[in-house]
Amino acid sequence: MNPETILHEVQALCLHLLRVPPEKVVPHARLVEDLDMDSLFAAELGLALERKFKIEVPETAIPNFKTVADVAAYVHEKINSSAA
């Protein structure tokens, strides 16, 4: 899966989960400050990523997600490392 596809998928996932206006879910949007994500929805996001991309997202990874692009980059790395 290429980085662009992953980014689109992550954006769609954030949109579905957080129900914010679609134009707000840009790559540099900050999850907490711009998209109003709290700790409960951070956990939900981890769960949704695991389901969607069949990867493991340990709890310790979640605090490192600052922006939508961070999440996409993490997923990309995980998929590639597991494929290798």
Binding site: L17, R19, L40, F41, A43, E44, L47, E50
Partner: protein, 410 residues
């Protein structure tokens, strides 16, 4: 002088409609809100019928991200309470929030949400379970969410007394105001439908299995009744201390004049055969209101359409009202709404208030042949005009709960 409690706002989501106006119009027209259940597969259940809420949009009242995940019970609790707040003239700015609290009842809480997450627990394991399972599944979150939305900083709790929960919540909230602990309360009840409860009530042989005629299945007091019809929805009332309500020029639906609450101390599900616990609840409600039974112009019965329950309630009413019962109109609106469980007592309180306001008594529909053991005036099939000063509403629940609320027209 003792503090009086009045109702200044009402809201509801029911199988008959998504607000008070449509629900009350349905009641006065004698419509049934029960039909074949479509929310989940009922093929292997004893009962395939229920009173589902259809077309409700929780996003109108809740944050969309939570509405999408929340249990129906929470949708209905927040929806009904929001409509009641708006009706009473309160906004989300929390102007009166320092002396205003919530008391919203439910029998089961977020049952459907918990059942779905439990299925995930069994199939995917604990890691698949949603982080919102507990906050959106627990029974108290109706009051919790409403307090956050409207910035109400008084007591915030939930009453659980099975099918009497909605009535208990109103009675407890009214007493908080009466005894000076609070000035305003949001009170009521909510329930969502779930497969486990349909199966559980079915196994206990409590449900009607008149699956081929869902609209005729709930028939309290009728000789051919065979159980209740499980239903869902929410109903909420804004209770205020009388002087506080008057000071802000609020419209007033009526007064909560009395509340009686007792236990049967007898059996898990069966009511006490002599109706003693229920009779005591009615007496306590009349006593708190200093009202003689002869003044009561209408009784909204608990009567769920079970063979035993309806008969024993008639016995209890006979014990309290004696010969006067023959001249007292009694109806069961569950014949139209089905049994909304934890919301039932709250919606029926609203029906009592509207009956007094409009001078129209709700009927008991599906009356073909009155059970001789229930030989009272059940207002058969058609609503009836009558000017009344007092009405009484009974609510009972598994566990032996008996609750009676007395309302006065103002």
């Amino acid at each position: 002088m003792s503090r009086r409690v009045v109702v200044t706002g009402i809201g509801a989501v029911t199988p008959l409609g998504l607000d008070i106006a449509s629900t009350w119009a349905g009641i006065l027209a004698g419509k049934s809100g029960t039909r074949t259940i479509t929310r989940f597969d009922t093929a292997k259940h004893a009962a395939h019928i229920g009173g589902e809420v259809v077309g409700f949009m929780p996003e109108k009242y809740m944050a969309p991200r939570l509405a999408g995940l929340a249990d129906p019970f929470l949708h209905y609790a927040v929806g009904a309470a929001s409509m009641a707040m708006e009706d009473a003239g309160f906004t989300e700015n929390g102007e009166f929030g320092g002396r205003m609290g919530t008391c919203l009842g439910t029998a089961a809480g977020g049952q459907l949400m918990l059942e779905r997450q439990h299925t995930i627990l069994l199939t995917e394991g604990p890691k698949g379970v949603s982080a919102l399972t507990v906050p959106l599944g627990i029974a108290d979150m109706g009051g919790g969410y409403v307090s956050m939305k409207y910035k109400l900083r008084g007591p915030n709790h939930c009453v659980v007394s099975a099918c009497a929960s909605g009535a208990s919540a109103i009675g407890e909230a009214a007493n908080m105001i009466r005894f000076g602990l609070m000035d305003r309360m949001v009170a009521g009840g909510a329930e969502g439908m779930s497969p486990l409860f349909l199966a559980g009530f079915g196994a206990a042989k409590a449900l009607s299995t008149r699956n081929d005629a869902p609209e005729k299945a709930s028939r309290p007091f009728d000789a051919s009744r065979d159980g209740f019809v499980m239903s869902e929805g929410g109903a909420a009332l804004i209770l205020e201390e009388f002087e506080c309500a008057r000071a802000r020029g609020a419209k007033i639906y009526g007064e909560i004049a009395g509340y009686g609450s007792t236990a049967d101390a007898y059996h898990l599900t069966a009511p006490r055969p002599d109706g003693g616990g229920a009779a005591m609840a009615m007496r306590l409600a009349l006593e708190q209101g200093s009202v003689d039974p002869t003044a009561v112009g209408y009784i909204n019965a608990h009567a769920t359409s079970t063979p035993m329950g309806d008969e024993f309630e008639v016995r209890a009413m006979r014990d309290v009202f004696r010969d006067r019962l023959d001249a007292t109109p009694v109806s069961s609106t569950k014949s139209m709404t089905g049994h909304m469980l934890g919301a039932a007592g709250a919606i029926e309180a609203i029906f009592c208030l509207l009956a007094m306001r409009d001078g129209m008594l709700p009927p008991t529909i599906n009356q073909e042949s009155l059970d001789p053991k229930c030989a009272i005036d059940v207002i058969p099939n058609v609503a009836r005009p009558a000017q009344i000063e007092y009405s009484l509403s009974n609510s009972f629940g598994f566990g032996g709960h008996n609750v009676s609320l007395l309302f006065r027209r103002l």
